[in-house]
Symmetry: C2
Subunit: 350 residues, 2 copies
């Protein structure tokens, strides 16, 4: 975050499954586009380390991570590790400890990319929106518990924790992003008719913060209705703001309708820059295809563009996006390996 014009100090976490493969291509593209000297430190985190040492994210590693300008992450998660261990103790721990409250996930249907939607009928104006997913609250806090586990009387709770402080800062961030866009429209997704305590708080927050952005229009949709809009009329969305869990759900659907998670980039951002932000493809570790060179590195490459943009290197970010757009437009049905895609995009930037 203190990246000067001539150095970027990057932490790299390849992680599990296809993570290291796609990160390798992201780094090739970064090298090809970036005028700065990129210093990289690789961190061995994920299933391998957990099996070898029992460690997920040692405190000392977390401290080291804090010292970098930004983090590039491949993917976390492996079926050989009990569900939740790596997610909670590694991935979510980084997001929470580094206060990545803005989980930014653009959803754009690039020309030439095939959507599972009948785009001519449902999205003739194209799809181009961004989701600001809250990243440090909601049902992701790990609050809750279980009683009498394994008995017929088992009880399990999950507590969604939401604060005005937490909602307000992402709502303000989302309004600012909407203001910088052409359509200047923000949509809150929630379920305030059922989750009334949190829902009404989010709604009031949008009303109140919205007053600071008179040129931005805002509306509201229940999360269930949003499912319908996303497949019947996705062009209606410009900037979506929502909580951590609804954001998780809606961004996978957004990725799917814009051509799949092979293309979906994301940033876990702390806009105040007191900690490094982390950039990662939305897809997971896909252990079934790991090590086979089959994964599409495009999502990671676009995440590298978001990383550069976050570091103020907007021109380089734009160059990557254009190179990706050109590559996507000419892909057709050809099957290329992870490295072939990465190298093709890097080549046009070199």
């Amino acid at each position: 975050r203190n990246a000067t014009a001539d150095t970027i100090d990057l932490a790299v976490i390849g992680g599990d499954g296809i993570g290291p493969e796609v990160v390798a291509e992201g780094l090739k593209v970064l090298d090809a586009v970036c005028d700065a000297k990129v210093a990289r430190t690789e961190y061995d985190l994920g299933a391998r380390r957990w099996h070898a040492t029992g460690e997920t994210l040692p405190d000392s590693v977390l401290e080291e991570l804090r010292g970098h300008d930004a983090i590039l992450l491949g993917a976390i998660g492996d079926p050989s590790v009990p569900s939740g261990v790596l997610e909670r103790q590694l991935l979510l721990r980084i997001r929470f400890e580094l206060d990545h409250h803005v989980n930014l996930r653009p959803a754009k249907l690039f020309p030439g990319v095939k959507s599972p939607l009948d785009v001519n009928s449902v999205a003739p104006q194209g799809i181009d929106f961004v989701v600001v997913r809250e990243g440090t609250e909601g049902p992701y806090t790990g609050n809750g518990g279980a009683l009498r586990v394994g008995t017929p009387n088992e009880l399990a709770t999950e507590v969604s924790v939401n604060t005005r402080f937490g909602a307000e800062r992402v709502v303000r961030d989302a309004f600012a992003r909407a203001q910088a866009r052409e359509r200047k429209k923000l949509t809150l997704l929630h379920k305030h008719n059922v989750l009334s305590y949190a829902g009404h708080m989010w709604r009031r927050t949008v009303e109140e913060v919205g007053a600071e952005f008179p040129d931005v229009t805002h509306d509201y949709a229940h999360i269930d209705a949003a499912m319908i809009y996303l497949v019947q009329d996705p062009s209606r969305f410009d900037v979506i703001v929502t909580d951590n869990l609804f954001g998780d759900i809606v961004t996978d659907l957004a990725a799917a309708v814009t051509g799949g998670i092979g293309l979906a980039a994301s940033g876990n951002i702390n806009p105040d820059r007191s900690t490094p932000s982390m950039f990662e493809p939305v897809h997971g570790s896909a252990p079934d295809i790991a090590g086979q060179g089959k994964a599409d590195p495009t999502a990671t490459i676009l995440s590298v563009a978001m990383l550069l943009e976050h570091l103020g290197r907007t021109a380089e970010a734009r160059r990557i996006e254009h190179a990706v757009a050109a590559d996507l437009a000419s892909r057709g049905d050809q099957v290329r390996s992870t490295a072939q895609i990465g190298e093709a995009i890097a080549a046009t930037l070199a």
Copy 2:
């Protein structure tokens, strides 16, 4: 539920917005198909009553509802009533008090119906699955609260409450439904890598109850991944079982990909029949088109078929489904009113 061969004692709640219009058509079809004498009692519940009397669901009305064989509901909800009041005190109160734990929502793409998906590429084998949504637990229990409301220090929680008892009964119901279907496959949707307490309980419940159904295969998908499957490969689903909130979200998407909520039927079912079950279209009250004869009554008509099936009148249920299928197959682009659609379907059954 004690419906004899020659009488059905039905409670009818038209409710808000388009509710009364679509219910009227559902009743026409019921009259046309049903050999039994149908006794109806109409209940005036919803926004009108709340404005007039402040009442949502008086205890005495709830007691009366208990005395019927089944309930047909149009829709509940109106923008003139504060969000959550009618939903929680009327609709959800009925579901909870009458122990409607199986919220059954079929998702079928009928021939001739246009899906927003590019069906030829993503669902060449068609779409035909059913969602068993838990109806009495999860984040719908109203647990949670708020502190310092309206201040910068506001805190709001929502508590998802889940019991083995509650999960097990719907999981068993879902397995039994899967066993009666051709593909005999059950998929649990949850998010056990983050919502670990509830997620692991659901998962264990599926493993254990699954052992009672050796001829049914079962798998699991995270709710976010399910979003992708539902638009990229919806044919993979046969029976989905999930919690109340995930079920709410996924059934609107399921409705959308199978032609829209104008066609999506549902049953709020208490399989032990100690209380009447309630049948309702998945769509809401749609106040923007209320009173204009524009609403599609098909979802309500298919809900009437589910009602008859629940009462053991399977042949009549099948006749409605065939009549609806025939009507859908011949619809093309013609625009018909609510009553025209209802009457056309009723006419083929008379």
